[in-house]
């Protein structure tokens, strides 16, 4: 499990709390165990820790003041948005300040001509699209938690969603950031145009998991709503055929707006839960959404239909209207809670693989599942190779969480083995910190630490997350590599 990295702060706990109360409203500083409890974890609830204190500033100046205070007394700071993250990125530091940006929830400006919106970090993802809907615009990245997650967290994690293949991740959809560095300086990154002079700090900040600065304002790019969206549902009697169908759609020159796959366990769970009419005898289903102008969608629907049939689909349905389109999606969107009904607990993984490796990865995962005696349901952003295996377990059975974590770690290592990555969209946080040692060598990790030091030399922002120390990797390696053998020796190396 995790341990908070110990730091040597130069201020006592009570003095820190008193000082914070002078900087932000005193009722915006929480320090009783009862008040701290709601902040003890993020969406990865298996990892918990109480912060020393929670501060809820409401102005940029207050954030600056809090950071200056923490900087001068070497107090760790963990920034937090809505706390929906799935990798423990917002897990509090036991000796530190949990800096909640929850009060920054104003949409500051919408410019429909420039197709941008300037918003505070605590604005919910979906609230942006709702606010700009009146102009026929929307914000494209749509993580499944979009109803609750905030844009500040989206930037910190470089969040994706089901429409990434066509519309990109957060990094492709923001234009400007205002951040505060650990020493309290306000920096504006990006400008009014499509690019900026110098280094691409906008990209560097995006997905930096609160390690480099605190985001206090985000200017997002907006897109015109497509004229029409249409979805096809295809059933397959073999998950490998479904994987091949995805490649065939892309080979036909079509980039779907969304392309999702579910395996039989996920199909059955979703169907039992929301009755989306999914074919229960299928080994896999594909949902393929096409959007654009009316003409384009019509042409693409016809083409994709042919491709799916030629790829061996046992059944292809096209949603006949918007209502049916939403029903098709309903099952996919409810897949996680649906799988959650099958078992007391489930653990959601997040690796990405080159799509052609899908058969091998599924087979190896099935073998691991048997070995650990833990069932896995698979939900897959098939278009971009992002896997979400859901491991079913029971936390009340002693040792089962640990076995689940070990199994999950093996899945991520497998993703790296086949040329993919340990995290497609959930971030490293605390959860995948050990697997970073598998994906990157020590020189690469040292380069990451040097980047961190350029912003935060004392390592006060979100310490111990995202990038492991070499010491940690050495311990992890000692635990995992037996007699110098790498895991999965049967696999081809890339």
């Amino acid at each position: 499990m995790h341990t908070t990295e110990h730091v040597e702060s130069t201020i006592s706990d009570t003095a820190l709390i008193t000082a914070l109360k002078k900087l932000v409203r005193s009722d915006a500083v929480l320090s009783s165990d009862e008040d701290l409890k709601p902040y003890e974890c993020d969406g990865l609830s298996a990892y918990r820790a109480l912060p020393l204190v929670v501060a809820l500033p409401e102005t940029i100046e207050q954030v600056q003041d809090v950071l200056k205070l923490c900087h001068s007394h070497k107090v760790p700071v963990v920034a937090r948005g809505a706390g929906t993250g799935l990798s423990g990125g917002a897990l509090p530091h036991e000796q530190g300040v949990l800096l909640s940006l929850a009060k920054f929830k104003n949409i500051l400006h919408i410019d429909p001509t420039r197709r941008i919106a300037r918003v505070q970090p605590g604005v919910r993802n979906l609230a942006i699209s709702q606010a700009v809907d009146q102009y026929g615009l929307y914000y494209a990245p749509d993580p499944s938690s979009q109803i609750a997650c905030t844009i500040g967290g989206n930037v910190a994690e470089n969040s994706g969603g089901v429409h990434c293949l066509k519309y990109g991740l957060t990094v492709h959809n923001i234009q400007q950031l205002k951040i505060i560095t650990i020493d309290g300086e306000l920096l504006t990154i990006g400008g009014s145009g499509l690019d900026s002079p110098g280094y691409d700090l906008l990209a560097l900040m995006t997905g930096s998991e609160g390690m480099l600065g605190v985001i206090v304002e985000v200017t997002v790019k907006l897109l015109p709503k497509p004229e029409r969206a249409q979805v096809l549902l295809a059933a397959f009697d073999d998950i490998v055929k479904a994987g091949e169908a995805v490649g065939n759609i892309i080979a036909a020159g079509i980039i779907p707006a969304g392309l999702e796959m579910m395996d039989s366990l996920a199909i059955r769970a979703a169907e039992d839960f929301v009755h989306a009419g999914y074919p229960l005898d299928a080994e896999a289903i594909l949902l393929c959404e096409l959007d654009g102008t009316n003409e384009e969608v019509s042409e693409h629907v016809a083409k994709v239909r042919d491709v799916l049939k030629q790829s061996g689909a046992t059944e292809v349905r096209t949603a006949k209207d918007e209502e049916e389109r939403l029903v098709f999606w309903k099952g996919r969107k409810a897949a996680f809670p649906a799988v959650g009904r099958l078992s007391p607990d489930y653990y959601c993984m997040d690796g990405t693989i080159p799509r052609k490796q899908l058969p091998l990865v599924l087979k190896t995962m099935a073998d691991l599942s048997a070995e650990y005696n833990l069932p896995v349901a698979n939900v897959f952003h098939a278009g971009d190779g992002n896997l979400h295996p859901l491991i079913l377990y029971d936390a009340n059975i002693p040792g089962e969480l640990e076995r689940t974590e070990e199994f999950g770690g093996k899945i991520l290592e497998l993703c790296v083995e086949v040329g993919g990555t340990i995290t497609g969209e959930h971030g490293v946080g605390m959860e995948k910190i050990n697997q970073m040692c598998v994906q990157f060598n020590s020189l690469e990790l040292q380069q990451f630490h040097a980047v961190k030091a350029a912003f935060d030399p004392q390592s006060l922002l979100n310490p111990g997350k995202a990038v492991p120390t070499l010491h940690r990797c050495a311990e992890f390696g000692a635990m995992h590599v037996h007699k110098g053998e790498l895991p999965f020796p049967e696999l081809e190396r890339f």
């Binding site: 001509t113 420039r114 102009y135 026929g136 994690e157 470089n158 994706g160 990434c164 991740l169 990094v171 560095t181 300086e185 920096l187 400008g191 009014s192 145009g193 499509l194 690019d195 002079p197 110098g198 280094y199 691409d200 700090l201 560097l204 997905g207 709503k225 497509p226 490649g247 892309i250 080979a251 020159g253 980039i255 959007d291 654009g292 102008t293 384009e296 990405t352 080159p354 799509r355 952003h381 971009d384 190779g385 992002n386 040329g419 993919g420 497609g424 969209e425 959930h426 971030g427 995948k432 994906q439 990157f440 020189l443 380069q447 990451f448 980047v451 030091a453 350029a454 912003f455 995202a466």
Partner: protein, 372 residues
Amino acid sequence: MNNDISQQLQQQIQSAFEQAASKQAAYEQTSALQIIGGGSKSFYGHTISAQALNVSGHSGVLNYEPTELVITARAGTLLSDIEKLLENNGQMLAFEPPAYSATATIGGTIACNFSGPRRAYAGAARDFLLGCKIINGRGEILSFGGEVMKNVAGYDVSRLMAGAMGTLGVLLEVSLKVLPKAEKETTQIFSCSFKEASEKIHGLSRTALPVSATCYHDSVLRIRLSGTNNAVAAAMNTIGGDTMESVSDYWLSVKEHQHDFFNTEKPLWRLSLASDTENLAIKSDTNGNDFLYEWGGALRWLKTDIAGDKIQSALAKVEGHATLFRKSNASTEQSCNIFQPLSPGLLQIHKKLKQAFDPKNILNPGKQYPDL
């Protein structure tokens, strides 16, 4: 050409690093290396004098999977070779990079983050960069990102390389997302004022019509449409205008700066700003014909003798930035900043990042900014 010279490149950087490390700080710059690919963009950025590190021999496509939408190539691979290979598979680099010369390499393209007419509608070079292998200023070979579309493990060091002009690392390999080419492409022409053109473009940007490029110059607006046959036909009807002949020649001439506009003795400035900016405090000398507008107005080329600091301060007022893209033929090195000056806070971060990747200031020092 398929050739791996990464070891030689690494040795050259390592020995420069060791040389610099053994010297007094004041003499450090003598170990500097100037990174050279195809030499197609040697006009861009500050002129520096340093020993050459020639990357052009490090070439070859390492992996291309059309159905995975990914290509990985060594940095010295010719841009034209990559484009040919993609073309044969009905795909393209969607950021439509300019080459400026047949010798242009993919590494130079990414290092400069150069993108062409489609940029405003598809994304920039950095948007399509999935991963890269670099040699940093310590001579260490490092890989970041990868060949998959979604990857959030570690800081996004790959994209940091795009536009850093080699000052943070020498690109060895890049992995790029590629996209299918459109079935049909056409360009509609309109004679109109800049104001009318801007209104038309911004009206279209609120629709889902398949616009893939815009250019306004000499009172003519050109809008390129790309998509399926029926989608383009319908969009042509919707937007009106006259249909242009030899479409690809025109966009190629704009992209490659072969269009008449670019045939000038004057310095050429690249202005990046909000697309609808009207009151830019720069006086046009020739009824606006010294401007050429792309990207819906967000990219403006300006040929002028106006002093660089005046242009850059006008751009600063609108939160944009100006780059002296090509110096005038008359002068050798302009005294002004080629790139828009950074705010003190940002400059500080830039310097620290430079230090983090290239502590001895070996890689292209001063190419982009004097201190980097």
